[in-house]
Structure formats: C-alpha cells, structure tokens
Symmetry: C2
Amino acid sequence: MPTAYDVAAKAGVSVGTVSRYLTGNGYVSAAARERIAAAISELGYIQNRAAASLTTKRTGLLGFVVSQLKNPFTAEVASALGQAARARGYGVVLADSGGDPNQAIDAVELLRSHEVEGLVVTPPESPEYNAALVAAARTMPVVGIGLHTTPSVTDLVTVDTRSGAQQAVTYLIELGHTRIAYIGSSTMASGRYQAYRTTLEAHGLPCDPELIVLGSLDREAGHQATTRLFAQDRPPTAVFAANDAVALGVVQAAHSLGIAVPTQLSVIGCDNVDLAAHAIPPLTTVAQPMALLGQTALELLWQRLGPDPAGHSPRTVTLSCELVIRESCAPPASPGRPSVQPPSERTHHGQHAES
Amino acid sequence: MPTAYDVAAKAGVSVGTVSRYLTGNGYVSAAARERIAAAISELGYIQNRAAASLTTKRTGLLGFVVSQLKNPFTAEVASALGQAARARGYGVVLADSGGDPNQAIDAVELLRSHEVEGLVVTPPESPEYNAALVAAARTMPVVGIGLHTTPSVTDLVTVDTRSGAQQAVTYLIELGHTRIAYIGSSTMASGRYQAYRTTLEAHGLPCDPELIVLGSLDREAGHQATTRLFAQDRPPTAVFAANDAVALGVVQAAHSLGIAVPTQLSVIGCDNVDLAAHAIPPLTTVAQPMALLGQTALELLWQRLGPDPAGHSPRTVTLSCELVIRESCAPPASPGRPSVQPPSERTHHGQHAES
DNA sequence: CTGTTAGCGCATTCAG
DNA sequence: CTGAATGCGCTAACAG
C-alpha cells in the first residue's frame, strides 16, 4: 500500500502538498496538481481514511442499526440510506441486531469503536438499548427511523401512517362500503387504528366493535381474524388491514372460505412491500416512502454533521404515505342484484411509490 | 472522548499496560487489570480502532458489495454475514450498487479507503467492475457469493441449484407427472435448466420442447409463459419454475385461467423467498440456504485473514439446496376419473430452511 | 509484569 | 503557493 509519501516522492513534492491536494484545503499549483494526480493513478494510491481521521476527527463512517434486515421495509431503507451516504463520500456500517436488544447494544459499541460520526437506528425495543442510545447521543448525532418510541434526544423521521390510513378508509367508503373491518393492533399501529375510527365517524358511519379485531401483525393473525369476522351474522364487505402481511392473510382466508376478492370482499393493506404487488389479486395498499425514509434520515444526520453548531434541538420529520390502488378493492356487491362474476384478473402493475 | 492515556492515568498505570489489557497481548497483573477495567467503565472509554489499525494493520472492518439489497435473498445473506462478522468483533460496511457497475466500482474504492480487511461481493455484472475486483484482490481477500461469473482470483461460495432442481423435478415425477414444463432462463439459471432436462431423461421421460419456455426471470414472464403453455393442445400438468417470482406468475396466470393449483396444475419454484410461504397456495420450492451462504462467506474470509500464509489458491464451497414441500403440488388429475374437488386449503407452515 | 519510546499515515500549523 | 515539523490515539518492541 503506497502512502502519501510515496505519492509525494513520485510527484516531486512534499507530503504537505499531497495532503492539501487530497483534502482540497489550501492552494496547490496546477502543475503540482497534475503531477500528483499522475503519481496517484500510477501508484494506485488510495487515501487511508483511518489515518486521516486521527487528525480530522472525521472517519467518513456512519452506523445503521436495524432490528431485522430481512424485513423488506428495512432492507429498502438501508439501501437508500447507503446510497445517499455514498453519494456524499460516506460509508455505512450496517449492524443487524436480529431483534435482540443485547446484540443491538453490542452493535452500538462496535460502531462507536469504529468512530462512526453518527447513527441511524430503527426503534429500540428495550430500556437498556434505549439507554445505550442516549449515551451514544451525547457523543454523536443519532437519528431514529419509524415509530415514536425512540428516545427524545434524537432526531426522528417518521411516516404519517395516520393520513395514509385515512386515505385508505376514505377510498373504501367512496367505493360504497359501509361495513369496513379493521384488523391490526391498537398499540403498534395506533395511528392507523385511530385514523380508521375517526374517518368512519367523519363520514357518519358507525364503528361496529364486531368489525374490529386486534392482535398481532402477521399473516396468521389476518387469517384468523377473517375467519372470525365471517363467522358473524353480518360480515364486512371490506377490510382495512394494519399491514400487508395481515392483508395477505385476509386474502388467503377469504380464498379458502370461497369468498372472492375483490367482488365479495375488498381488502386494503399497509406498507406496499414487494409481496403486495405479487399477490392474487395485486393488493391495494398504503405505500410507505421507504427510500425517502432512508434519504431523509441521512439528510438529518448530514445537517448535524455540518458546521452548524449542534444548535437546534431534536427535530421530527414526518413523511406522508400514498395510496397505491391495485386490484383488491371494488364496490360492495349490492345485495339487491345478484353479484356479478369476478372479472378475470389480469396482471397489472399499480404505480409504485419510488421516490 | 477519553483516550487510553486518560484510562492509564486514572488507573495509575501506563498506556502500555492499558494497551496490553485491551489487546490481550502480554501480561497484565490481576490488580492492574481490575483498576483498568474500573477506569474504563468510569470514563466510558471506548477504544479507537482507527488509531489502533494504524499500527496493527487491522481495521476490524469488512466490506460487502451487493447489487440489490432489496432483493430478499441478498438481504438475508447480508444479515447473516453481518451477524457472523460481529460475533468475531468485526463490522461490515455495506455498499449497495443498485445494479450499477459504476457505483459498484466506486463502492469498492470507498471500502478500500476505509481499509476494510476483506471483501464479500455478489456476482459482478461488468468487465470494469470485474477488473476492479481483481485489482482489489491483489491487496486483500475477496470472496464471491453466488454464480460462477466471479473472477477466478477470488474464493467462492455457491449453491448447488442443480441438485435442487433435480430434487424438484424428481418430486414432480414421483407424484406421477409426465408432462412437466420448465419456465425460466437458459443462461442465468443454466444449472436448473440442465438439471431439468437430465432428470427427465434419467426417468425415461421425453423432453417436449413445447413445454419449455425461456425468457426473463420475473413474475411477468411466468404469467405470459403460462398463458402460452395453456394455449397448446396438450398443456402440462406441472411446472418447474426457475425462481419463485416466475412461479408466482404461473400461479397468478393459472388463477385467471381458472386452472386450480395444485389439483389441475402443480407448481414448484426456486429460492424460497418469503413470498413463497405467503402465496396462495403456499408454494413448494427449492430453498436456498441464504443464511448459510452469508456465514460461509464470512468463514472463508476469516480463514484468509488468519495467520495462515496467503497460501492456498482460490477455493469454492458449494452449498446444497433443500426442497421445501408446501401446498402447490399434487398428483396429476387422472384423466380417467373425474378430478376431485380442490381440498379446502388451510394455513399450513411448511418447514423452513433456517440454518 | 510494567514504563518508555518510536512510529503508523495523514492533516495541520508555521515559516518560508 | 510549498516544505518541514508536530501530534492524533494506539500498539509494539525494548529495557527495566
């Protein structure tokens, strides 16, 4: 590995000049500039940022701690974050805790030992991890992604799922549905749940407790909830699910119950994971701006890293959702006339929320 | 940020001793050890690995360059790789090229400037990128994941999809199918295609060219291929798809054509992405050992990083696939007796290939 | 077992 | 505009 001294020698200048060339601080004559460039490419020289960081205090490294990289949502955020970082000459050290708070804590320590300049984290799940984050935040900027459980010392970028949920329910109402079920959790996705209720009320629709099933947020839960809903006297004609996994479970259950989607039951999900487009039928869903989340998180961090005094207090940026209309929703089958045969479904790409 | 000197002062020893304590090289008395530990935790001291790397030549950083982190396959490999690395005290800098060779090249340079000790890469897509990798390999170990297109200077960990494909086709044959279609690509997944043909032949089955549709590897392709297959006089009773996306397309097409899966058409995919388990019906598929891939890649790198002289030449580790049987396959509807009603499908978790 | 010292590769003064 | 000198935080000999 050639060093800056090697470059200097080959270019007939001193290290100081090479350094100035590299950092862009201070003046370097065009002639020197040229010779240095030549030397660098001949030698295949690559600056050692670890060494540079010793004096500059900037490693060019950022840390991203996630709880589940397999989660497509997380993966896409990570992807966008990483690309945005690289565009600014930064690398991101990725640490997947696998949902284990202890691993997350270890990860934070590892990242700190690598002198990352800032941290982006998905919502912490334990008080200990939370404390580790607070401690870290005393040393460097930390921005949280997602829910509001992140300690308040950090900047935050979240998604206004509430308005997304509102759009979804409104859409269903406008299609003519009046018996709209909610399947989800009241805690994890409280915004969606509340939006569901308020939107219903805003349209003068009753909020039948029989149409609300609260539980976990996986496919299994969606499946069971649907079975239960249809065991009732007056089943819903539409379901708003708190996420796509649940929605998929609903579709699956409907299928085995012989209920056609969307003609007999409209289903709408949340997140717009890849799964959604591939479902049968392709799922109408509230899309999360995943790429934008990553980019925004980086932007927030970037500002904290800038020259501006650590001035401003924790900020929160809220991104909005977008309803992606595919083929899992239709007007309710009017009980008056016999319900039509399901239209033959065809492959159709709904617009994606690539931002 | 406290330094080792601060720790030394507080513990009443010298930096040398602190360093020995930290690295584990050389002896440190129990007494000193204790005082140092105390000082460290009181000060919240964290070793600066960038500084350490200056002398040790070891940054504790690894690089992972991927082409698509959103790809669930990649994400899971990355997750496993990262966790394995962290278990050894290493961090991994993740770089997503988004499929752009130029970005990939930039990424490699960025990683090198951060002095990563080794590189793990998914298959390169361009000659230039390939060259960059070869250049990098002169400086540090590089291990490739996936297909065999990776330059031969590197270690490689691949999956024996051929045997997986063989299992899949054999399974179909044992169920009684004789008209088994192949939908996929002959280039990208050549192993699978060849295995399809040879397995058919090995069982004395003809290899009807009308049952082979080659194209791209996405859902759309699967959909179209299926439509085409069923426009023929003698459609297949089973389809082996080169990946899950294609298989999903097949299922979708079958659904719109009014063909029941699995009673009228058996479908089998490849990869076992999350999608597969969530499909209707849950998809039987050839599972890739994604986590194992990541772990193995790390292990290979680890060995190269060890004291052993850079001795041995490029190695290739081949992992085997496993057939995950879910609900998308059944014996062919015997034309003799009327085909039975589709059994009501139920949620059922096939075994996962978590390793 | 432990203190001392000399770099590692680079960015910065500070004089020229 | 540029060279020489100093130190970043730590490890690795080397004497004690």
